[in-house]
Each structure stands twice: as structure tokens, then as C-alpha cells.
């Protein structure tokens, strides 16, 4: 299988990936953990903000908006 590691902000809309590593600051990371974002969690890019700079992702059945600054520190792998 062809696995590729990219940062979450590069995940195109409607594509799916899996969390590999969260390199965000302690504070942000904690918040992501609270939402159930841990290693191997499936994540799908859904929406792009019209004003730019953030995307909404589907994670465990809910829709979570994350700014590019943060999502660029989250590594994911795609299959």
C-alpha cells in the first residue's frame, strides 16, 4: 500500500487521512485530544472558509474547524 505523510492543511476537500503526529503547542494539542483527535484517527476535509485560512474537518462524526496555522502542525498519512 502506498502511504504518504503530509500535513493536515494540505489535505484536499473531500479526501480522507489518518492522524500521524500532532506537533501543536501543548494548549492546542490538549484541545484536539479533548475532541478525540489522537493517532490513527480518521479525518476528512469537508469545508473551506470563504475568508480563507481555515478548514472544517469531519472527525468522529462531528465537524471541527481548525485554522491552517494549527493544521499545518498536524501530520497525517493517507492511504
Amino acid at each position: 500500500m502506498n502511504t504518504k505523510i503530509i500535513t493536515l492543511n494540505k489535505l484536499p476537500v473531500n479526501k480522507t487521512g489518518f492522524i500521524y503526529n500532532i506537533k501543536c503547542s501543548e494548549n492546542v494539542k490538549r484541545r484536539l485530544l479533548d475532541l478525540g483527535i489522537v493517532k490513527n484517527t480518521c479525518i476528512k476535509a469537508i469545508l473551506k472558509s470563504p475568508s480563507g485560512g481555515l478548514k472544517a474537518f469531519e472527525i468522529r462524526g462531528s465537524l471541527i474547524a481548525i485554522r491552517d496555522e494549527d493544521s499545518s502542525l498536524i501530520q497525517i498519512y493517507t492511504k
Binding site: C24, S25, L35, S49, P50, G61, E69
Partner: protein
Amino acid sequence: MGLTKSSMGNVLLNDDIKYYKNENGFTVALAGNPNVGKSTIFNSLTGLHQHTGNWPGKTVSNATGHCNYKDKDFLLVDIPGTYSILSDSQEEEIARDYICFGNPDATIVVVDATCLERNLNLVFQIMEITDNIIVCVNLLDEAKKKHIKINLKLLSDLLGVPVVGTIARKKKSLNNLLDTIYKVCNKDIIPSPKKIHYLPIIENKIELLNSKLKEFFDLSPVLYRWISLKLLDNEQSIIKSIENNLNINISNNVSINDLRIEIEKDLSNIGITKSNFKDTITSSIMQKAEKICNKVCTFENANYSSRDRKIDKILTSKTFGIPIMILFLGIIFWITIVGANYPSQMLFSFFGFIQEQLISFANYINCPVWLSDMLILGVFRTLTWIISVMLPPMAIFFPLFTFLEDLGYLPRIAFNMDGFFKKCCCSGKQMITMCMGFGCNAAGVTGCRIISFPRERLMAILTNSFVPCNGRFPFLITIATIFIASSIQGFAGSIVSTIAVMFVILLGIFMTLVISKILSKTILKGLPSSFVLELPPYRKPQFGKILVRSIFDRTLFVLGRAICVAAPAGLVIWIFANVGINGESLLNIIANFLNPFANLMGLDGYILTAFIFGIPANEIVLPIILMCYLGNGSLVNLDDTFAIGNILIQNGWTILTAINVMIFTCLHFPCTTTLLTIKKETGKWKWTILSFVIPTICGIILCMFTTLVYNIFVTI
């Protein structure tokens, strides 16, 4: 965080809640993620209609309520919604401390049936601090719509605690919950939670710390494991709160500390460090949650959220997202303007009639003229003007706006606008607090708590009064109707008024962004920080409830406050207008004093005086202006807004005056309630004063600018 009915719940202001204990019955805590219908359950069980939704409760007592079942009395405590209790944010601390140290007889964890997996995270975390858990799977109706089936019996077996399914909007479905609460409190059912087993090495270390703790402290059995876990995590703030609440001293215990440091070394040798300990813990929880969900949930339709996604694609699309947002706001204002016109007229004539009757009655009983004038022309007239001008727009605007809130649209606005706010180094959530500001700036300021970073929260607080609250927009509507749309009749006229009002509001939003940017470069230096926001699923609003809630909880509440201020203010203004030195009334003296400055702003002294007198409540600005113009006892019956318009025009109002009054209405000092709220929320007079000065200066400068431009045009 979603901003539908129960999202914000009641923010408990202090930790006095610990002492909430039901002496004559049982105490039950209600915990859960934000936006799972927690407060709806709370309200249905207790029969309370608190300002749940988007207006965080102001007092602790708002968050508790009683309900009776069989022979027992239950005290329900509504805890702020949190995703987790691992962190140290204020709400999580309150939630954790109450469940852990408040010793409720049972803790209900409300979970969202449509999003069970993530919600179980909190359930497992709470299992670490108490055994008496009831899991309430709420929103089963939403789940059904999305074709998600949940095997509650199996879920209960897998969790080891009672599980009840509910549809909080249907009161009947809550009986089962009550019955379970009763049984758990009565010890007829004893939950035995199947806690998470973390990695064997971590479990092993927990055991070691457990036995060490048992040597030194005598605590309730469930707490040892939790304290050990927190020691492993080295969570100073939580350990501190444990020490304070249980009156024990762990951090200075050499023996425990040595063991902790030793364990820390052991763990870091195998790659578990302080920075990834939480990841490990959460991974274990989420793995178990996934497993459980795979067993208990059946998704009959894999694309269960496709409808929401389709709507989202449109509402947040690059081309239409923002225009749709403006359109929605415009439609709301248009309906308000059109709908409020006729009832306003009726109220004006009705009160005018009553006023005449009162005057003839006063004459009949030979009431001294000064007294009847003071009471009827001062107090009564101000009061009734406020009701006529304010009540209809509010009664229309609030339900419409609540509808958008309940739908779940506000977080989408934040999502759409976040890019702009990021450029100004603040949070998109500020947009949500601004929307709440439409209702009441004080509520908007309190709502700024949803912004977790102090710097960004301060920016949102300082700029909140840039959006006109409902005390101000009926005034905006009146002015727009009289001056900007007066020449155009009917439908087109109402559209023009709407556009004028929208323009002022967009100006407010624009100013918010500009001022935020300036603040972030000066006194609140900083870079944009993170923004993580849940966009909740759309929910069908309940029309009946919206009507009742927005009229009783909001409209009458806000109107009541305005009336309380208006009656004494009417009296004071009347006295100022009729008592004077050397035949000149005090009001005239003040107005004349302010006049030169007001002229620079394209206003007159009376208008500025009215704004100053209007500090207690912005609602009374227009009545004061009218009272000033009609001050000296001259009796005019106002039939509608156009009668008001005539008075204003007779007193020299031009289109420039109207525009500047609208600008200044949007950009001036907030009312006292808002200022006091700002003081309470920020704790500092410095920020309170700034929040007074910043919008005022903006308003003055802008008004002077338009006056200058207008005058240049006129001379050319």
C-alpha cells in the same frame, strides 16, 4: 462550541457550587459535552425556563433546580458543558471539582446519540472520579433521522453503568431517566463502571502510586486511582485543587514525590514522556470508545450527514457564503422594519388616547398642574414612547434571531468570517459574541468567555459595543424610516430603510475589525492564536418554544429593564426641562453648552445631551431627544413615527443629522449595564474605561468626518 439552545449552558461563576447539597433529598449533577441538550433536559426536569441558550446564567442559583419524583426531592445541578475534564480551563475545573468534591448522589453524563464515540471520551474520564454515573443518550430523535441505531442495553453492559435513552424535547421520554436517577440515588442500582485499562506499564505504575497514597491518606476508594493518574501526568493545577478540596498535602510528601520521579524516569525510558502522556491516555480511551461504538451503533445509512454537508457547502461557499450571511441579516431586519411599523402606530395612538384620559382625569381631581405634568408628560410619556418604539421591533427581531441560533447557523458565521478576524489577530468566535451583542451587549460581553485566549477575549470585550444592541436598533430603524426612506413609499421604502440599517451594522463590524487590528498592534500585542470550533449539526428549531422563550425570556426582560430606567429618567429629564435659572431650563443650559461641539459632529446640543442622559439605557435616547424638543410643556400627540419625524425636522434635523445620529448610535459609549459587566468580566477599571473611550472617540471622529465631507459638498 455550538451556539444552539443548550450550548453555553449556565456558566457557574464561582466554585461555591461545591456547597450545593440537598439536605432533604438527593443531589444530581448533569454533565456532558457542549450542545448535547443538557440544559433542555435540565429545564424539562425542573420546569425552569432559565435563559439557558446563549445567555450564560448570571448567578449560580440559575444552574440549580428542584424536581420531585415519587417520594423524593432531587436537586439538579447543571454543570457547564465540556469536552473533557483533563484540562485546566475554568469550566472544566468547575465541572471536575463539582463532580469530584461536591459529592452528588449521582452524576448524569448526557451524550449525543449522533456522535457517541467522541462523547464517550468524557464518560470514561468521569468514570475516573466517580462511580455513580448514569449515561443519558440524548437526541435519539436526531439519531433516528440519520438512521443511526444504538443498542442501549449492550452499551449499558459494556460501560457497567445504567444507560437511558431520551429525547429531551419530549418530556415523556424523561420518565425513564427520572426512574433511573431515583434507583441509583436509592442504591437500588449500583453502577460499577468498567474503567479504561491503560497500557499495562501505566496500570502497573498507577498501582504503585495507589499503595503509596494509601499509606499516607485516607480517602474515598475511587480517588486513589485518579490522584495517581494525575500524579503520573504531573498536572500541577489539578493536584493543587485536589489538595485544597480534600485538605491534604501531596506535593510536599517526599516519599510520594520520590516515587513519582522514579516512575517518570521509568516511563520516559520506554518513550512515555510528559509531553505525550495525555496522548497515550486519550488514545486508550478513544480506542475503547471506538470498539464500543462498533458494537452498539448501527449506521443504516453511511452518508447520514449528507444533508448537513450539502447545506454547509452552500452556506460556507466561497462565492455565496458571505453574501448569504448578509442576506439573512438583511431579511431579519427587513421583516422587523415592515412588521413593527403597524403595531408601533397602534401603540402610539393607544397610549396617546390614555394620556388624554389621564390629563382630563388629573384636571377632574384638581391635581396641581406641575404634578400632573411631571407624572404624565414626564414619566408616563417617556415610558409609553419606549414601549411603542421598542416593543414591536424586539418582539419580531428576537424570535427571528433565536431561530437562526437554534438552527446552528452562528458557528457557521464564525467559520465564514474567521479569515478576516485572523488578519486582525483575533478570533472568529468574536463574530458569535458580536451576534449575541445584537441582543444585548452585556450578554455579548459575558459570551466572550467562549474565547479561550485572554488577549483575544479582551479584544472581543472592548469592541462588543460596536454592534448595536436591541436597545439601539429600533432607534436606528426609526431614524432610517423617517429620513432615508421617507420619500419612498411602501415596499421599496422598507428595503431602503433595511439597507440603511444594514449599512450602519456593517460599519460596526468593519470598525470592530479595524479597532481589533489597532489594538493588536498597540496595547494588546500578539499574534493570532489557534481556533478550534465545532460546527454542530443543524437542528430543526422548535417554533413554539422559540416564540415563548424569546418573548418572555428576552423581549420582556430587556423591555422591563428599559422601563425601570425610563420612568426615573423621564422624571429627571422633565425636571431638567422645566426647572431653570433665570427662565432658562437646565436642559437648555447643558444643551447650549454642548452645542458648539455637537455642531462640529453634525449634531445639536440636545442630541448629545440625550446620549449622555441615555447612559443608563440606550433605549431612552430618542424619548429624551423628543422630550427636549417638546420640553416646555407643549402637548403633542404622536400618532406614528412620521409625527416624530416632523418634530425632528422642525428642530433642524437634516439628512446629515440623521446619518450622524445613526453613526453615533452605533459608535458611542456602552450603557452602564454593559460597562459593569465589562468590569466584572475583566476585573479591571482600565479595560472598562477603554471600552468607554474607544467607541466614543471612533464615533466622534467619524461624525466629524461625515460633517466635513457633507459641508464641502454643500459649498461646492
